[in-house]
């Protein structure tokens, strides 16, 4: 299985996310993550999808089927061009006094941040590529992870050309 990050520009209208997610599930495509948000144009929403497929053929199917949706304006496979991708994670870890120094060390090494702290917990925030986030999650699994929230990956193309003009 290979992963690809698709940037999908859609009309900012009610029901669009249902159209996209419904299509993905009924065509039995494998999705690693999906996230959506406003863009520089108020009428356009950008959906970031990480899809995992067996073959180029299957990838074409995902792109072609999504392209058929009337409210999909444009799809670009950012994994095929120079791009930067990032994901944000927040991890709540049980941290009593004796663990705290170790955790601060880990946070420093990963260039993460501690964004909340209580006598029992810390909340760690990290932005990075998925592999980096997977790595910190693995290291932290030695401690008691209370909960994790991840955004899924988002990406932008490198250079001056935006997705809408690719």
């Amino acid at each position: 299985m290979k992963k690809y990050l698709l940037a999908v520009l859609v009309d900012n209208k009610p029901g669009v996310l249902t159209h996209v997610s419904g299509l993905i599930s009924r065509r039995a495509f494998n999705i690693e993550s999906i996230s959506a948000g406003y863009t520089e144009e108020p009428s356009v929403t950008r959906i970031n999808i990480v899809v995992s497929v067996e073959s180029e053929n299957e990838l074409d199917q995902v792109v072609n089927q999504l392209s058929k949706l009337i409210d999909v304006i444009k799809i670009v496979n950012l994994s095929k061009s120079p791009s930067i991708d990032r994901e944000l994670v927040m991890i709540k870890v049980r941290a009593t006094k004796k663990d705290r120094a170790d955790l601060v060390n880990i946070v420093d090494i990963f260039r993460a941040n501690i964004v909340d702290i209580t006598p029992e917990n810390v909340v760690i925030e990290l932005t990075g590529q998925q592999s980096k986030i997977d790595a910190i999650c693995e290291v932290l699994s030695e401690y008691e992870i209370v909960e994790i929230a991840r955004t899924g990956a988002i990406a932008l193309s490198r250079g001056p050309v935006p997705v809408k003009r690719m």
């Binding site: 009309d11 949706l69 009337i70």
Partner: protein, 572 residues
């Protein structure tokens, strides 16, 4: 624009719907009223908008589908919220699978009631998303004209399909300044599918190199109205041709080299030709599992050329060696021109292959054995075919009779063999036949149905009786759900589980009770002595033909088998 004109354009949402339908050239709506569409129906009443009240919303949507398939125009349906909309679902899915243009307008509960589990509330957009080309929920009357304009544009352009418009009840009542847009502006959809001519050059080159080509076409030729180009191409190539179930009629049955339809119950000639050809020129088709048999061994020796509008259909089930993406209205005329200009003597090059395929086809034609004085389905359908003129429209339901109709009825033109191919919807036939007749009042319409299928929407007998819609309903009554029974006979030790119809129903009496003439034929001789006059009588009628119970549809490619692993009938 002066003040008076502005005044004229003030109207409510219900009027705006009907005004917009008029502007789209809609001449009839099929529907069923209810609570939230009362205002819409009040305007139907006041404007005397042509409307057919069916017995069930499913009847309305299939009727609109039959209307659309027969005419090539967009079929339009009205239904109320909740159960009304939910009853459309099977019909919308049927149209979606076969790429039929529909616009379904449903009432939704009023804006303040949405999301509160209100009386007769159902999430129509949620339900219809997987089975429509697009759908809308209109909550503001000012969006209504644009949405209707877009819906018709989307339904009829590109690969046609159903579009659902759900309208909140209060929108029908709200007055606004009506203006119907001249054009459609959608950022994600242009409806223009002009392709790259270089792809056609590659196809021509492959055709010039082929020794044993087969032209294989589907419903895309029907829906793009390109059968004339198709026929010219086939003629120029002097090659054999075959259709899918949905392509029947695009090349007249009996045309030299035309092998009929291929697939699970397709002809021996067509299936063998697919497995033996060295080039399969596929036009407007999507390689359904009913067409390909075991897909990994479909057309194993052939280079696959795929002419297709929908990019998602290319390489979906069968990988294409050469693809020509684009509207057939664009690609086929160019292909035709280039083949005409080619220096290759296609006729000479393909003569031997054509002869070989003709011999294959002649060795196992569709056939049946006479059985005493029983009415054999093949004989019945052939007889009716001989009594129909070349413009007649045949509609089928789903099951054994559908396959017999496809095998034995000689469709001569496109849009004259209407059948639920993709979804296989029992109950499709009667309402679809009604819609087809209303679309083409000058043409004869015959429905072939079974004693299972007809019961699924037999309430529409009353509709065709009330409106004197001249449909001849031919029931092939074998007292069993025939296709289910055939599979049980062949693969489940004759365990006729829940498939026998040994009840006391009497189709002649049902017909009469609903206001139709009803007849029953039980003997083969009646095909000569009675059938011609029954079909010639003006007005709708039900002709119940009792056929043997244990008749199989053959040939048959059992599930998971190659196309050339057919179980044959007749002499075998």
């Amino acid at each position: 624009m002066d003040f008076e004109e502005v005044l004229d354009l003030r109207m409510n949402g219900a009027q705006a719907v009907l005004e917009s339908l008029k502007k789209e050239g809609v001449d009839i709506v099929f529907g069923y009223p209810g609570g939230v569409v009362l205002k819409l129906y009040d305007e139907v009443y006041k404007m005397k908008f042509p409307h057919i009240l069916t017995g069930h919303e499913q009847g309305a949507v299939h009727a609109a589908d039959g209307y659309a398939r027969a005419s090539g125009k967009v079929g339009v349906v009205f239904a109320t919220s909740g159960p009304g909309a939910a009853n459309l679902i099977t019909g919308i899915a049927t149209a979606n699978m076969d790429s039929v243009p529909l616009v379904c307008i449903t009432g939704q509960v009023a804006n303040p009631a949405i999301g509160k589990d209100s009386f007769q509330e159902v999430d129509v957009c949620g339900i219809t998303t997987p089975i429509t080309k697009h759908n809308y929920l209109v909550k503001d009357v000012r969006d209504l004209p644009r949405v209707i304009k877009e819906a018709f544009f989307i339904a009829r352009t590109g690969r046609p399909g159903p579009v659902s418009i759900d309208v909140a009840a209060d929108v029908f009542n709200t007055e606004f300044e009506y203006e119907y847009p001249e054009t459609v502006r959608l950022r994600g959809y242009t409806g223009d599918y002009t392709g790259d001519a270089a792809e056609i050059d590659a196809a021509v080159k492959a055709i010039e190199q082929a020794k044993k080509p087969l032209v294989f076409f589907g419903g895309g030729v029907t829906s793009s109205n390109t059968s004339e180009d198709l026929r010219a191409i086939v003629e120029r190539l002097g090659a054999p041709s075959a259709s899918t179930l949905m392509g029947l009629g695009c090349i007249a049955s009996g045309t030299k080299g035309f092998l009929g339809f291929a697939g699970m119950h397709g002809s021996y000639g067509a299936n063998m030709a697919i497995q033996q050809c060295d080039l399969l020129l596929c036009i407007g088709m999507r390689f359904s599992d009913r067409v390909t048999g075991r897909v990994a061994e479909f057309a194993p020796k052939a280079k696959i050329l795929h002419f297709e509008l929908d990019p998602a259909e290319v390489n979906k089930n069968v990988e294409a060696d050469v693809r020509v993406l684009g509207d057939l209205r664009w690609s086929l005329p160019i292909l035709r021109e280039k083949l005409m200009a080619s220096k290759t003597d296609f006729g000479a090059k393909h003569a031997e292959w054509l002869q070989h395929v003709a011999e294959l086809a002649a060795s196992h034609p569709f056939s049946y054995r006479e059985e005493g004085d029983a009415i054999k389905p093949g004989a019945l359908i052939r007889k009716i075919g001989s009594l129909m003129d070349e413009d007649a429209i045949v509609v089928t339901d789903v099951g054994q009779h559908q396959m017999w109709a496809a095998q034995f009825y000689e469709a001569r033109k496109p849009r004259q063999f209407l059948t639920s191919g993709g979804l296989g919807t029992m109950g499709y036939g009667l309402p679809a036949a009604m819609g087809a007749k209303l679309a083409c009042p000058g043409k004869k319409v015959v429905l072939f149905t079974g004693d299972g299928s007809i019961m699924m929407n037999c309430q529409e007998f009353a509709t065709i009786a009330d409106h004197e819609i001249d449909v001849k309903v031919v029931i092939l009554e074998n007292h069993i759900l025939g296709m289910v029974g055939q599979w049980q006979r062949l693969f489940y030790n004759r365990h006729y589980s829940a498939s026998e119809l040994k009840g006391k129903r009497d189709f002649v009496k049902i017909a009469e009770a609903m206001g139709l003439r009803g007849y029953r034929l039980t003997k083969a001789e009646e095909l000569e002595s009675r059938l011609p006059e029954l079909l010639a009588e003006p007005g709708p009628a039900v002709i119940d033909c009792v056929i043997p119970q244990e008749e199989n549809v053959l040939p048959m490619v059992p599930g998971g088998k190659r196309l050339d692993e057919m179980v044959l009938g007749g002499e075998d």
